[in-house]
Amino acid sequence: MSEKVIPKASINSDSGKDLNRKGFLGWLSIGWLAFAGATGGFFTSMIRFMFPNVLFEPPQSFKIGYPDDFTIGKVDTRFKKKYAVWVVRNDEGIYALSTVCTHLGCTPNWLEVEQKYKCPCHGSGFRKTGVHFEGPAPRPLERHSVSLASDGQIIVDKTKRFKWEKGEWEIEESFLKI
């Protein structure tokens, strides 16, 4: 077993001779092009998959009823399940709060006794107005646009968001004066 073993692959074989440099580069480019085409096609179809043909989600803009349906000083949780908004009426008017916690996106619960929204994930707490006061949430809940339709009902438009920290709660659309 002491004799030296020469691996076969290291011996110059004839197969290398019929492929010159130009031919090699040609085959290499074709190979790479084919690879790029295949992966490109694969990823295109993957990205296409992210955009479904039909969306089974509630409309982003919807009517929630007449202003008189809402009691002053109450948080209305009827629209939480379907539309993910709380509708709150105070002495001056009505606003719609997003039910997405501004910390990591869990859904807080409205606690009537404690008068606060409390997130079950990391304990963030928000006052009735949506302003954060306990736990790790760095900013208040976002508000959505509220306005009156021609038939007197309130329209909530979730495509428009108003952030307190950017001073957007001052914008007229974020609050419906009654």
């Binding site: 079950p120 006061f133 950017k166």
Partner: protein, 371 residues
């Protein structure tokens, strides 16, 4: 019995349990001569003997037996999700006990001038094939039997279909992420959810490059690298495993703290109104409104963070840690400081939150930048 339960509830409050652990840790894993002397004096090293193991095992089991017959702790304890945590408490402590026992054994051998136990090939050395593979096969079969029995006896903790409008209360991460969830209570998501996990992984990979002590390599030994032991054990046991235990047993509805024998009252009211450092400084201390300029508003926070992370290591390199700095060189020293100080930022921030209701040291929600 109720007195004992009340005592446990009182001790498990985060400020107390965390402080007790933090204070006890340097005595259990002494990093300096002084702590080592106290450790010897009070006989804490006896934990790492067979007798010590018996007492540790008995006291944990005693706790769980009381818990099993308690109507409230029974609910948390026997929840199918939480049974792995109970196993984890036993296995973690067993593994540490075994390692420390071997380390102390070797330390004693070194003191006597002998070679460590791992120096000689063990007598029970086996061949990979067939001996070791057979052992592994038997272990595999036994483990599968264990898993099958477990899955038959205890139902899977399945819940109702997911519903974005109804988050379970409390909503808990998988058990291995509970430490992460606990960190998220004190830090902004980008820090606790992204930066810290990256730092943990990169930091652990960097340990062999930062710990350049040639002694104690390849064999168990405590005294050859006691500072490294202490830092790693604190980070692992207190800042990760203990946080998992807190998240499992002590966090109830609305993510409030509950003692182990306390009823999980969903309406427990805990005053937690948090205040940012900038509000402390400008509103409470200087009696002024917050400045409109963001940088001016958060200047104190920036000074504190930069001072802690960058200025303090520089000063330490010139004074107290001069020897370490010269031994390690600037690159290794600053890496060690960056990872070490980031790790110790977690307990610091937790205490600031518990004691002063401090929310963020730097709070710039406008830029999604909170520390």
């Amino acid at each position: 019995m109720n007195y004992i339960k009340d005592l446990f509830d009182f001790l498990s409050a985060p400020t107390i349990s965390f402080t007790l652990l933090t204070v006890a840790f340097p005595f259990i894993f002494p990093p300096t001569d002084w702590f080592d002397k106290k450790n010897k004096q009070w006989g804490i090293y006896k934990l790492w003997t067979n007798k010590g193991a018996f007492w540790i095992f008995m006291s944990i089991t005693f706790f769980f037996i009381i818990g099993y017959f308690d109507p409230y702790f029974n609910l948390t304890m026997t929840k199918p999700d939480n049974i792995p945590i109970i196993l984890m408490i036993y296995s973690m402590i067993f593994v540490i006990w075994l390692g420390m026992k071997k380390a102390y054994n070797n330390d004693a051998r070194l003191d006597r001038g002998e070679k460590p136990e791992e120096w000689n090939d063990p007598d029970d050395k086996v061949l990979v094939w067939p001996d070791l593979v057979y052992i592994e096969l038997i272990a595999l079969i036994l483990f599968m039997v264990f898993l099958i029995v477990w899955s038959i006896l205890i139902g899977a903790p399945l819940e109702e279909p997911a519903n974005p409008a109804a988050t379970p209360n409390p909503s808990k991460a998988p058990w291995y992420f509970l430490g992460l969830q606990e960190m998220l209570v004190y830090f902004d998501p980008w820090l606790a959810g992204i930066i810290f996990p990256i730092f943990i992984i990169v930091g652990m990979m960097a340990i062999p490059y930062m710990d350049i002590n040639k002694k104690g390599e390849g064999y168990y030994s405590f005294k050859e690298r006691r500072v490294g032991y202490f830092i790693f054990m604190y980070g692992w046991m207190v800042l990760w495993v203990f946080l998992i235990v807190i998240g499992t047993f002590f966090r109830g509805p609305n993510w409030n703290f509950f003692g182990p024998f306390e009823w999980w009252d969903p309406h427990k009211v805990v005053p937690l109104t948090n205040v940012n450092l900038s509000e402390y400084v400008w509103v409470k201390l200087l009696n002024k409104g917050l400045p409109t300029n963001i940088i001016a508003r958060e200047a104190v926070g920036f000074v504190a963070v930069i001072g802690y992370l960058f200025i303090m290591p520089l000063l330490l390199a010139k004074t107290k840690l001069k020897n370490l700095f010269e031994h390690y060189g600037p690159v290794r020293y600053s890496t060690l400081m960056l990872f070490g100080l980031t790790m110790f930022a977690l307990p610091i921030k937790m205490y600031l939150r518990w004691l002063f209701n401090l929310k963020y040291i730097i709070a710039i929600p406008e830029w999604f930048f909170n520390i």
